[in-house]
């Protein structure tokens, strides 16, 4: 099946400031992509260029085979988007807001919205201006899901949700992607959520994709090694992301971990080596040190 999103040599500059550079990526049907990055790394810009809100400065990105900056109405119907800041109409009730957006889609799934409203304890008769930030975020997510989009893009969707709502949201995303041919791309600072949900990870660092690939592959690639009784002058035979020494022990976080590297270390340090897998949060922190 054709990839939903294909980006080649994608870059974006605002005047002299380069925000994104040389990005190549794809989003396939069934992917759940978690986008991680520090504040200002370029996550939001990346998602916005991907959906055609803003043109790329160079390179190209296509969604459903069309250039994202000129998406047709037929392609737009297949996309759902939750922006970082909600764009709800404050004077309306949630029900009126839902009805307004629903009118644009021929395939709006009203029973799904009704069911999710009950599950997420959202009162549709409440006026948006009197809703809390978390309730508004829930409503924004519902609006993006109501037409059962093939590609759901969420920019920090759970930032204001309480733990219960976050868990329900994650369950819902799992349910959505369980249906064939759906794809989800979401950015978040809550790494544990990304770890629980994403099948693929993009780590954006200084405008570039520092890592993209499967979560398992990432965890196998970035590990912590501990070497007992390593001499003070002894160095690793390859570059490490982070090295600490204490009481004769050496601890290092390395990327590009492989059997060959393991073998190289074993030949240098013998059996005194331990390899410890890292959580996604530890990997993220190590990559940003």
């Amino acid at each position: 099946m054709q990839a939903y999103v294909v980006a080649r040599d994608l870059g974006k500059s605002f005047g002299p400031k380069c925000v994104l550079r040389d990005l190549d990526f794809t989003v396939e049907p069934g992917d759940v992509v978690g986008v991680l990055g520090k504040n200002g790394a370029g996550k939001t810009t990346l998602l916005e260029i991907m959906l055609g809100f803003s043109p790329a400065s160079h390179g190209r990105v296509s969604v459903f085979g069309q250039e994202s900056f000129a998406l047709s109405a037929a392609s737009k119907v297949r996309i759902g988007f939750v922006p970082q800041q909600d764009e709800l109409l404050a004077p309306l009730t949630a029900r009126d807001q839902v009805a307004t957006v629903a009118a644009f889609y021929p395939n709006w799934d009203a029973p799904l919205i009704e069911r999710l409203c009950n599950a997420w304890e959202l009162d549709l008769d409440e006026r948006i201006q009197s809703m809390s930030v978390g309730q508004r975020q829930k409503l924004s997510i519902l609006l993006a899901m109501g037409h059962r989009p093939d590609l759901l893009v969420l920019d920090e969707p759970v930032a204001s949700l309480d733990p219960i709502a976050r868990r329900r949201f994650l369950e819902q995303i799992v349910e959505v992607t369980a249906e064939a041919d759906r794809a989800v791309v979401f950015s978040s600072h809550i790494v544990s959520d990304v770890e629980r949900l994403a099948s693929r990870i993009w780590i954006v660092q200084d405008g570039a994709l520092r890592w993209q690939g499967g979560l398992d592959a990432l965890k196998e690639s970035v590990v912590r090694i501990r070497i007992r009784n390593a001499g003070a002058a002894e160095a690793l035979p390859f570059r490490a992301l982070h090295v600490t020494r204490s009481a004769g022990h050496l601890s290092a976080v390395v990327d590009d971990w492989s059997e060959a590297r393991h073998a190289a270390l074993c030949s240098q340090f013998g059996e005194a080596i331990e390899v410890e897998p890292l959580s996604l949060e530890d990997i993220f922190l190590a990559l940003h040190r």
């Binding site: 988007f81 307004t100 644009f104």
Partner: protein, 438 residues
Amino acid sequence: MKPVLRLLYGYFFAVPWLRWLSLAGVATLVLSALYLLFIAQPFAVQGLAVAGLMALFFGTALMPLMVGRLARSKQAALLPWGRARILLSALLTTAIVAFPLPLLGVIALMTVAPKATLEAAFYGNGNSLAQFLTTTFFWQMYVVCAWQCTSLYIVLWFATHERGVAGMLKSLLIPVAVLFVPPRFVRIDPTISLAWPLSLLLATWFLIVAYLLWWPRIAARLTRRFGGITATTSKGGRVASEVDLILELDRPWRFALAQSVPIAVAALFIREPAAWLFYLTIFGVIAGARAGRAAMLSRTLWLRSDADRRALFDRVEKAFWTHTGYQLAALIALMVAVGTFIDLPTRFLGAGIPLILLSGTTTMYLGLAMTRGIRFGDAVSAVALMLAAMSIALLAAKESTPLAAIAGIEAALAVATLALRALAVRRWSALDWSICRR
């Protein structure tokens, strides 16, 4: 069409107090039409029809804000034909709101006005007069009304979207055209062409379409071509008291001086005392209207001072008096200058100065009394106040109206101002900032 109809429903009926205003407007207009058709007393129905039109217009007052917010949202870019449908809904709203006035106008002329007078003005026979009224005259009026509605919606957009001097200038310049155009293009005169008002309407809508549909793409392509536009900030420091800064009332002289621009432009086109009083009353109302956000903005003051709610009201009231005072003082000076320049009658100043002072202060206290957002009562009071001020302006400009009668009405407006102040004091004493959030 379904999304467009849904948007229309949203503009007219989704907000309770606007829903009642819209329905009241429709009911009043239907009543006016029936009254004209069966009882045939145009002068008795005039006030009713104007009130209905105002109610219908203000019933859709949130339309510009909603269209602006929707059209510029990222969501609209992903909705199928999103911006085009939003734009169409705005156009249809304008078409609906502009419809009753020409219809009532034609009914009044067809059923009520003395036929001989009309025929003399028209210099034609009865049949062709009827034909003229139901075709050319109706369309002239309709096109001009549609353009006026469009312009007033744009004024509402600027007034609610841009709160600085630039927004005020734009809001006050457009009414000059709104006052200037209709008398020139709507007359019972078969030689008048529809081409000019139609061109004006089309040009205005072309600009709106360009702004909403094409500008985001043009701006994006310009960014792609020339790189981003870096925003610049003023290097000048803001020197003002903390209260003024928090209430966004610093540099009141800028607002006061800025008023001279639209008044100078208006002096080139407007000569009629009634139009001038009407126009200057709008300035007075706008000068006081900034107080509508006072309760919400004062939240920060509460945390930064040891004043209780009553004392806080006194400080806020004082700050608004200073700010509004600058604007009203400049406005009266400009009014005297205009009166001298155009040689307006003395009663123009005699009745006009208190009217402007009262419109500014009444609106200011109405704004200060809005401590829970705009509720139905506040909206009705605002519309009633605006109608009252405009009616007094029109009455005061008439030579036949005794000055004593004007003074009496203005005294009643002064009493209303005191009542609104008392209401504001009472509401501020129990001010709940959690229900007047930004």
